[in-house]
Symmetry: C2
Subunit: 439 residues, 2 copies
């Protein structure tokens, strides 16, 4: 059962192993479609996740299956691609093989590492229990459960102080994730749930967005940051800028010497690369991103490439390439070109150059900010553009169509279709017991 994994029907052609089927890994694989190689894609999950819309699953607007597509389905017709469900535990640079937790070794001629990143707690990992982040489907359904249960519990109890705490929602981090989450939570409370309760008024919910830096969306121009702040405030979100969270527990957060009582805290700050640097024993920056050569290969191992959020890549001006889907896809396409040139013994393409297409973020269901360099938009037109861009890049016709239907439905009715409390904490818990994990 263990032993070497060879590509299906071992053809003797060079074997490319791609670790991670996110935007970078999937694009690399698809770009190798016509190359004379066999590709094996290894992922811990059986699906590709469209992370930019994960916050909509967390706030009950979309279903997990709307934004996730089975990797086998995406690559089903690519004859030179094999999919392997497995968790990488190490990479053997010397003998050119990756190791899986099943003890299997997968030998490679070329390796593309695209294992992404996760959120980080700035060394305070003990906050993870009370302030979950948003990177995986399970994160999203867990946040959805917490949000919805907070309203349910507020409805059943008499204690006004605890009720207030249950109806207070803190989002930490003013990047796109935090901004989009805060806007969506405010809309959930003020629109979708408004008529559903009898003892509480969900519209009285208090949503607080906390950002340590001086403005929201620091990757955007300042004018759009200001517009995003105003749009959030119009939705009733309280925005705290220049204030770092110094403590975080099941009852709330502390910013400076100010205490905010809240039973639901969502973490949208910080970023840490995956364990790839450790596997590769490679040089990396403070947050774990691997240092790469101009062709995105690992210095000293020109057959190993590191792309996407796992790599530290800088653009022509020396600025770090942002951790967004288009950047990962450009890198995936680029390394496929490099590999294709090598196996065909052609000249190598010029060094990787990042082409910035723009930044988008949405605030609730009617506003967004769009920065296409010279073109800067905000408001409803930006929102339409944001919606179209996301629909366009969603993989698979079915997902695209299903998401469109869900959006139209909630646009017309303000309803949310996916308000299910499922999972381990699905049952009503005695309030006061197990409060640490749940409320």
């Amino acid at each position: 059962m263990t032993g070497d994994h060879l590509p299906a029907g071992s053809t003797g052609r060079p074997h490319v192993v791609v670790v991670g089927a996110g935007f970078g890994g999937l694009t690399a694989t698809q770009s190798l479609r016509h190359a004379p190689v066999d590709v094996t894609v290894v992922d811990r999950r059986n699906y590709h996740l469209f992370q930019p819309l994960l916050y909509q699953v967390a706030t009950a607007g979309l279903s997990p299956a709307d934004i996730a597509a089975p990797i086998r389905g995406i690559l089903g017709s690519q004859r030179n691609a094999t999919v392997l469900l497995g968790k990488v535990t190490d990479i053997d640079r010397a003998s050119r093989a990756i190791l899986l937790d099943t003890q299997q070794r997968v030998p490679f001629d070329y390796l593309v590492v695209a294992t992404g990143a996760r959120h980080a707690y700035f060394g305070r990992d003990e906050w993870a229990d009370v302030a979950p982040g948003l990177k995986k489907i399970e994160d999203a359904t867990s946040i959805r459960r917490r949000l919805l249960l907070a309203f349910e519990q507020a409805e059943t109890i008499a204690d006004a102080v605890e009720q207030r705490r249950l109806l207070s929602f803190v989002v930490v981090g003013g990047g796109p994730t935090g901004v989009e989450l805060a806007g969506a939570i405010a809309e959930l409370a003020k629109k979708a749930l408004a008529k559903d309760f009898r003892r509480i008024d969900p519209r009285s919910a208090h949503v607080i967005l906390i950002e340590a830096g001086p403005r929201l969306l620091s990757a955007f121009p300042e004018s759009l940051s200001a517009k995003a702040k105003r749009a959030l405030e119009n939705l009733g979100v309280e925005v705290l800028l220049g204030q770092a969270v110094s403590a975080c527990d099941a009852g709330g957060v502390t910013v400076g010497n100010h205490r905010i009582e809240a039973r639901t805290i969502v973490w949208g700050a910080g970023v840490a690369a995956s364990a790839a640097a450790k596997w590769l024993k490679a040089a990396h920056d403070r947050v774990g991103r691997v240092e790469v050569s101009p062709d995105l290969s690992l210095p000293g191992s020109c057959e190993i490439f590191v792309i996407g959020d796992t790599a530290k890549v800088v653009d022509a001006a020396g600025k770090p390439v942002p951790g967004i889907a288009p950047a990962a896809k450009q890198q995936g396409r680029y390394v496929a070109q490099v590999i294709n040139a090598r196996v065909r013994s052609r000249a190598a393409p010029p060094p990787f150059r990042y082409r910035h297409l723009g930044n988008l973020a949405t605030i609730g269901r009617k506003a967004a900010v769009v920065d296409f360099g010279r073109l800067r938009l905000s408001g409803q037109i930006a929102w339409l553009l944001w919606g179209m861009a996301h629909l366009f890049f969603l993989i698979g016709f079915r997902n695209r169509f299903a998401v469109l239907i869900d959006w139209l439905w909630s646009y017309i009715t303000y309803g949310r279709g996916s308000r299910l409390i499922v999972g381990s904490n699905h049952q009503a818990q005695p309030i006061g017991v197990d409060r640490g994990r749940q409320a």
Copy 2:
């Protein structure tokens, strides 16, 4: 925080408590819309589940949110209804109150118990771990995970015997659940997954349906049972009749003295009512269904009603009323009439009479059997009728529309949109370790 729960805005009107928001409880509540009462609906979940389509979630055809609608959303506009998320632990008949796990007491003037049923292992509860049943959303996503992981693991291993075991699927129970599951698993393997693997051929999967009785679908006429068997066999399902499972473990099942090796076993047999009889200290039958008076009230407590799968109800001919949605809805409507008559001091309606509308079951995506008494159909026309009936009874326009889209999509492409492996066992597990729970 604890203490008595009173209906919102306590009006002094009679308080009706409905426990369980399944087909029976929800219909009872909605039928009391214009009655001069306050209704509190108590459920452990925040959603109403359309159980007849649960097998499609288990086989990756639909998403959980497609077949579940938030109770608060359904009852949002019914001003005399309050929803309470909570788990009942006991019922105090003498002082007329239900007790929740939060220590809250909910006093009632009238009580409707509609807590449903679950599957049963005929006293072999230790089989539950290896042969999960299908009653809850979590059951469905867990079965989906097991089914999909079995194919993934078969793809990665070299051992031909273990591969065979991984590609063998046993369904226990030849009622509608078992028949529909077996058909859907066969289609998943032979159509949806057919092109997705490189080392295994999913079409070689072996699906075995085991029924202890002499025929499938015992509630249907014999001619339709035979047609269902033939339709399943056309899909490649092996149907074993008159054979009871005598042993069941992580490696397979034993029927008579014949051993069937299979890593995935799904339980579709047996039924046991909820704990309601225990709470009520009431007389009940072998499977826990509460004995009720002709007006569905509890003998000795005329203000307590028991309906749906929780109650033992017989029709005019003395035959037990089947455990299907239309029966539960008729009973819900009936007890609402009885309560309405009592609070208005009108004459009580005549005893409950079950009106059998028909039986439907589907086999794969092109065949079904329909029994409307004199009208008996099978094949594609029956399948269309089955589809329309289920769409019609799905609650909520959005769910109806989303399901229609999913169905059309998979009808045209044979694809399955919801092939996600999520949850606690989502990661690839070392084969040979933890096999008991997962494979």
